[in-house]
Symmetry: C2
Subunit: 221 residues, 2 copies
Amino acid sequence: MPDQTTAYTPTDRSVPTRDRERASYERAFVHAILDEAYVCHLGFVRDGLPVVLPTLFARVGERLYVHGSTGSRPLRMAGQADPGLPVCLTVTHVDGLVLARSAFHHSINYRSVVVQGVAHKVTDEEERRTALDAIVEHVVPGRAADSRPANPKELAATAVLRLDLDEVSAKVRTGGPNDEPEDVGLPHWTGVVPVSKVYGSPVPADDLAAGIDVPDYIKAL
Amino acid sequence: MPDQTTAYTPTDRSVPTRDRERASYERAFVHAILDEAYVCHLGFVRDGLPVVLPTLFARVGERLYVHGSTGSRPLRMAGQADPGLPVCLTVTHVDGLVLARSAFHHSINYRSVVVQGVAHKVTDEEERRTALDAIVEHVVPGRAADSRPANPKELAATAVLRLDLDEVSAKVRTGGPNDEPEDVGLPHWTGVVPVSKVYGSPVPADDLAAGIDVPDYIKAL
């Protein structure tokens, strides 16, 4: 049994059927993968069928938040559902293309987190504000304080869902190809092509007033 | 009614509830978004609950293929399910961070495709080989011909699922922030920070023999 203060407890659902040696339940490791992303893929069931939508999210301690228009489907469904909407929230970073000598052993270096649970609509106004700030901060740290906060009309149009980090697992693949010993003499190049995310130069809006420079927290990206 | 030769027919499920002006059903546009990605997020329902897993995929004409170990959960489930496994396959590219003057109008420039349908296990050996080659080619064009093809044992250990492109929609956001007219005078920097994917220098495997250079199709990444 892992230490619950530093790790999530594996469950039947959160233990992968394949490549279990790639799984991790360490909170710090899971948090780092989540915090490096701002888009997740949120899955839910509608009329018995799966739906997967990309959406922004943020982590605050052991809670994840997603937001959206009060008219959007999962947010409406979570508001109606009692006691909440079962979801699966997945985050994936691709770190490299793994080119083995055999087609079979081609792979991807990646880090992913899968969170399963029940999402609840947040009704407490302070928690809603905290969540909305966190989502802006998650995308660009420093931005929440450098933008106009939501006004009552905007807050009324925005729904926030909370998903507790409880049934959680990370999965990671690192390193080079794992070719079969009998393939080592084959003449194909083999190795890893790193993949990463980069930010380009900020493009000012057409109506940006003269004299407003790119802030340091954006340059820091 | 859009021309079915150039566009997918919108359905109740494939028309988004929000931001309909961002939706597209054009086949060429959908194909381009799919082909630029190699990882998708595959959603399915297990015991009534949603599961979303990242996985490699490829497109061959109007069909998508995913593969995995015969022991992996969705592939086993699709093999058992009759007439197949309902899935939602979603692909997302993040193109930019949209920093508005108001927290509310912060957004992401993105291109996404959502495919809904029923995945079937592929049993025809020729189609299986075509699909597996396509998945390798999808990650690195040119690689399928420059690696050892799967042998019978490897083929027997690999399951392939097919999902027809039928109920499909793309969604895209481009351009700058959409601030409220009354916010234009606020002192916050506003614009877009472009985001893109880059490849690093190929890292050869530890056991790569001397004299095997990085092939041109990898340099072309």
